[in-house]
Every structure is written in C-alpha cells, then in structure tokens.
Point group: C3
Chain length 186, copies 3
Amino acid sequence: MDEVFIHQTAEVSNKAHIGKGTKIWNGVQIREGAVVGENCVLSKDVYIDTLVTIGSNVKIQNRVNVYHGVTIEDDVFLGPSMTFTNDLYPRTFNKNWKIVNTLVKKGASIGAGVVIVCGTTIGEYAMIGAGSTVTEDVKPFALCVGNPARQIGWVCKCGTKLGKKLTCCDCGAKYSLQNGELISYG
Amino acid sequence: MDEVFIHQTAEVSNKAHIGKGTKIWNGVQIREGAVVGENCVLSKDVYIDTLVTIGSNVKIQNRVNVYHGVTIEDDVFLGPSMTFTNDLYPRTFNKNWKIVNTLVKKGASIGAGVVIVCGTTIGEYAMIGAGSTVTEDVKPFALCVGNPARQIGWVCKCGTKLGKKLTCCDCGAKYSLQNGELISYG
Amino acid sequence: MDEVFIHQTAEVSNKAHIGKGTKIWNGVQIREGAVVGENCVLSKDVYIDTLVTIGSNVKIQNRVNVYHGVTIEDDVFLGPSMTFTNDLYPRTFNKNWKIVNTLVKKGASIGAGVVIVCGTTIGEYAMIGAGSTVTEDVKPFALCVGNPARQIGWVCKCGTKLGKKLTCCDCGAKYSLQNGELISYG
C-alpha cells in the first residue's frame, strides 16, 4: 500500500512532504516545511512542527510533540505522550530565543511519557524507559531510565536487555565493549 | 439520565459498546471492540484502544491513553495526561511484539501525568501520586509516589491518608495490617 | 493586530472572555467563565477549565490542562504537555471533593511535561525544569528540577541561570539574597 492515508480530522500543511505508505491519524497536525519519510505511522493528535525532518518506518504514538530543531532518523519509536523541547531557558517575553537542536538516531526507542531536554543526542538503538526525563546524551544501545535518566544497562538491536556476556539471549546477536561504547559484531 | 452523550467531535466505533449514562467529550476516540461501563466520564481527547474493558463509574480525565491489554475496573479515577503502555521493549520494526497486560482494580486512583509500565496490577483503592512512574505491582490501599513509584503509606477508601492507628481521621473507617496487606474491617 | 484569532476546530464558550490579540489554535477548548488576557497564545489542544483566570502575554504550549482553581498571572510560559491538578485526594465517588487552588505568578516558566500538584504557588520568574513534579511552593526566581522538584539555583528574569555573584552574565541584572529570598535591584 503505497498511498498516504490522512484522517479527515488531521491538518497537514500543503508545504509539508509526506512519504508514501505513511498513515496520519485523528487530529494530527503537520506544519509547513516538515518532511516525514515512508511507511510511518503518526497516531492520534501528534504534532509535527515547522521544518522537522522524520525518517522512514518511524512510529509516533498518541500526543507526541516534535518541535522545530528535532531530527528523527529511520526506524525510531516515539512512545505515547512523550515530548520534545527546543528552548533551554523559556521566557514568554524573550523575542530572540535560540532553538536548540535534538537528534534521535536510527532505531532508537523512547518510552511513554518521556521528556527530552533539547541539545541532546539519543544514540542508535538506545532505549529510554517510560516516564524518564533525558537531560544528557545517550549512547548507542544504552538503556536509560529515571529522572534524570541514567544508564542502567545495554539493549540489543531487537530490544532485549543484554546480560554481562553481551550476547542476546533472545536473538543471539553479539556485541562487545570498546572504550565504553557497545559495538555490534553480528 | 440514562442516555449516552457523545460530543460531535468524538469518534466512537460502532463496534464499541458504551454503557448507559456515560458521557464522552471533545475529541475522544473509542476503537472497535472496546467496552465502557455505565455512568463513566471520558474527558477531552481520551483514547480507548481496541478491546479495552472499562468498568462503571470510571472517571477518565483529559488526554489519557488506555491501550489494548489494559483492564479498568469499576470506580477508578484516571488523572489528566496519565498514560498506560502495552509493550515492554518497543521497537518499531518488531512485527511479533507481545502485548503485556495491566490491571487497575476497583476504586483505585491514578494521579495526573502518571506513567504505568505494563505488566503491573494496581490494587483496590490504591492511590498513585501525580507525576509518578509505576514499574511494579501496587498493593490495595497503598499510597505510592515518585519515579520509580514507591509506597509511602496507606490511604482510606475515602481517599484520606491513614496515620499509624489505621483509623481514618476523616470518615472513621478502620483497617488492620495482615501479612503486609491492609484489610478493611468497617 | 488586535483581533482575536480562533482556529475553526477550537471550542470557545460564549461565556468565556478572550482578550484582544490572543491566538487560539487547533482543538483548544475554553470553558464557561474562563478569562484569558491579551496577546496570549494557546497552542494545539490546550484545555482551559471553567472560571480559570489567565493574564496577558501568556504562552501556553500544546496539550496543557489548566483546571478550575488555577490562576495564571501575566507573562507566564507553560511548556508542552505540562498539567495542573485541583484535587489532592481524587476518588471517582467523592461527590463533595474540594477544589484546591494553585497560583503561577508573573513571569514564571514551567517546563515541558511538568506536573503541578495543587495547593502550591510558583513565585515570580521562577523556572521549573522539564519533566519535574512540583509538590511544594517555589520561591521567586528559583530554578527547580526533579521529582519531587527541588531548588538547584536561581535564575535571572531573562531566563539565564545565576552564578554565585548573583549578577546575570547575560543581561547584567543584579540581585541579592535577603532572608533566603532573591531580590532584584536593577
């Protein structure tokens, strides 16, 4: 199914670009200059701000806010009611406030209700537990939870938490640690 | 007033069942196979997923997400912008992900902005403080707060926090502890 | 531009009062008796309850809930998906529950995803970090973060965090401490 589906209650700017196969559900708003990739799902009431770029095969659950300055790569999961930000020191009367960028890299998953403070990068295939507040960069494959979010382990590309042997007990994928970073070696 | 009220902007599947006296407000979405009991209130933009079962006299505040796999018993209060989940290890590319169930038992109250990690049971008349993240089972009458949520006391059926004597200073109800569980004895 | 803008999908009670120059965006709901000041922005899906009073030049981001009992003064910033509350011990079957008031004073900023427990006052120009849960009063100019929110410093009226000298390294404003309170002296 290559067509774009847009629910009748969604408002998609005619200056946004939506990739084929993408589904846009109830009450979604997509603003001018936004680019959404192919085969994405944008669930109820999602908000995509001006000039945001979203990759392909991205699943965005209900009520997520993706603000100007945020970039979402392919295969990312954004859980329900999580939100991004783009202003570190918001004041309603600051006319010259600076947008601070945020990057979510390929395959990362962000849990329900998470808040991402802007200026951070979420590494490839990282997983942020539900209810967390992210205030600093997250390494690839890292599992982080809490407020502020702290790393408590590593996750496989398939989503399973890794034990000390760094071989996935579910899919069998193997990893090693090099200078504090997790590396996949098949 | 026995009729169902459905605001004109709500989308209720004709394969959902809504009990009499229930009110469904602005922008609510109720999907196929969902069952909602009698005399409930579903406030602005609430989302009820496929096959969810909700009891009677349940009050669901603005923006709550109730996902497939969640069961809500009678007399439950779900605070504004709280959310459920149903996938412990979300990956956008996992085609065979398993829905993990969650149960909220009779009379429990869940505060504003709470996140409930799936696989948990919230006991009867338990109360979860606003802003908490629940990651494990909650005992009946337990008062839990924080991220992760921890028990800090007990609450009466009427909602008042209980002191050491386990007699409610507000309504006079009496309780005792048996094997770490609070028991009501009138 | 002195006219009020109301998006066609917003529902504004004809018993609410909206000040000139205020913009009301997609899916916003404003109920009877609410008073919103001049030159405010109410973003996607914001909910303003009955009898709420909101000052002028207030910016309310997507999905904020402002409940009966909450008062918002001029120049306040309410971040995306934050929520207020108005019931300390919610029970769905409590017919005589008491509304507990909350006050956000002039110029304060509340971050994304914050939950404000009712009965609190947020002081002038205070700043609440994203993802926090506020359970007690916040002093003027205080910077608070976490769950529960704790003060970690002071912020200038312009939004910049103050160092030990209490002179803003950005705008040059000067402050002093008197009896534990920050005082601006130009």
